[in-house]
Subunit: 199 residues, 2 copies
DNA sequence: GGCGAATCTGGACAGCGTCAAGATCGAATT
DNA sequence: AATTCGATCTTGACGCTGTCCAGATTCGCC
């Protein structure tokens, strides 16, 4: 509670907050545990007691990111009325999240520094994937276990949104990135919805 | 020439070779310049004379990777006869390269450790992008500068292939990754070709 | 009130990237 | 043919990193 006590009180949460700042400023590759500790005004070895090692901290960060990732999609889906619209807005949320949290997004999908075998992280990513499955199943009327078309549609839709997001982060697809905001979002919608055809 | 001479002879190429081994074994994030020097049997400061710093080495590696990336696509296109087939096989080559060189692929697109402003690297990535443009233009009959449909198709096709590749590397899309080899390639073809519709 | 467990500190160690100074060699010049 | 010069490579140093360890501090429970 007090500002200068030996025990912090809620160091774990504070470290996670600072870790996200560190991540967005320095990226996954230059992420430094000691720097996070310094940001939180705490000794360099303090994080170990809450996260074990740097992989543990990044894993916790990725898990929290995954939950917010799903939350962003759910929020975007509120403006949808049909299953098709829901899937589309979910994809828009996918890309929006990536653009708003580039380093976190890369940590979640690309990085070998996080422990993707971790239970909590695995559950969190799984939840996001399950939601995508539900959204597609609501359109095809079938579950992926029973229907190849549904499986293919899931793969296609996910790849499309993910590829657009990742390319936008890498600064590659100039035809989309260079657009003014409103046209840009329209283009994103157009690209994503292009992958909805059932066959 | 001789095995134990003070001057190596072709250290730059040797370092680049070992750097790729290091990259595929340790990934971009744990890539170590000293480790590469050790692999090449040379002092820890030797690489600096050929690449400046670690970013320079990774940049050279990414540039070489980009050229091989384009070469892989061109090779795959040889089995195509129509423009549509050419674009499809090019996409298959895109995914194939990513799966065969995961760390290199991630370095080329995702990493902040390479200097993407570098001239040589920029030219190499640009060449790959230009080739994609040509492949799409051959189908639509128009150049992207003049035609929005062509621009959108480029973005869509590229995102689709890139997303599929990146998700396969992250181990996420089980419906594709878990397939036996032949069905797997068929699924990849199906997913990529799904993004070809002009509207 | 005291005791055990959790939390945090400070020091140590090896490995990292980078810089500077010196050793070695190839090749061009004289 | 000897010498000089620039390119190449080594060695040592510095500050940074992640991780381990022993000790100090504090919380919660008995």
């Amino acid at each position: 509670m007090s500002t200068a006590s030996y025990h912090h009180g809620d160091l774990r949460a504070a470290l996670l907050r600072e870790a996200e700042v560190e991540l967005s400023e320095n990226g996954v590759e230059k992420f430094s545990l000691r720097s996070v500790a310094k940001r939180a005004g705490v000794s360099h070895a303090a994080p170990a007691h809450h996260f074990g090692d740097v992989a543990g901290m990044l894993t916790a960060l990725a898990a929290e990111g995954s939950r917010r990732f799903l939350a962003t999609q759910l929020k975007c889906e509120e403006r949808a009325k049909t299953p098709e619209e829901r899937l589309l807005e979910s994809g828009v949320g996918y890309v929006e999240f990536a653009c708003a949290n580039p380093a976190l997004f890369r940590l979640m999908f690309g990085s070998r520094r996080a422990n993707h075998g971790d239970r909590d992280l695995h559950r969190a990513s799984e939840a996001a994937f399950d939601h995508l499955i539900d959204n597609v199943s609501a359109i095809t009327g079938k579950r992926p276990e029973d229907d190849r078309t549904t499986r293919m549609m899931i793969s296609r839709v996910w790849s499309q949104a993910h590829g657009l997001a990742d390319l936008l982060l890498s600064g590659s697809p100039r035809y989309v990135a260079d657009l003014p905001p409103d046209e840009r979002e329209a283009a994103i919608r157009e690209i994503i919805s292009g992958s909805f055809a059932e066959k």
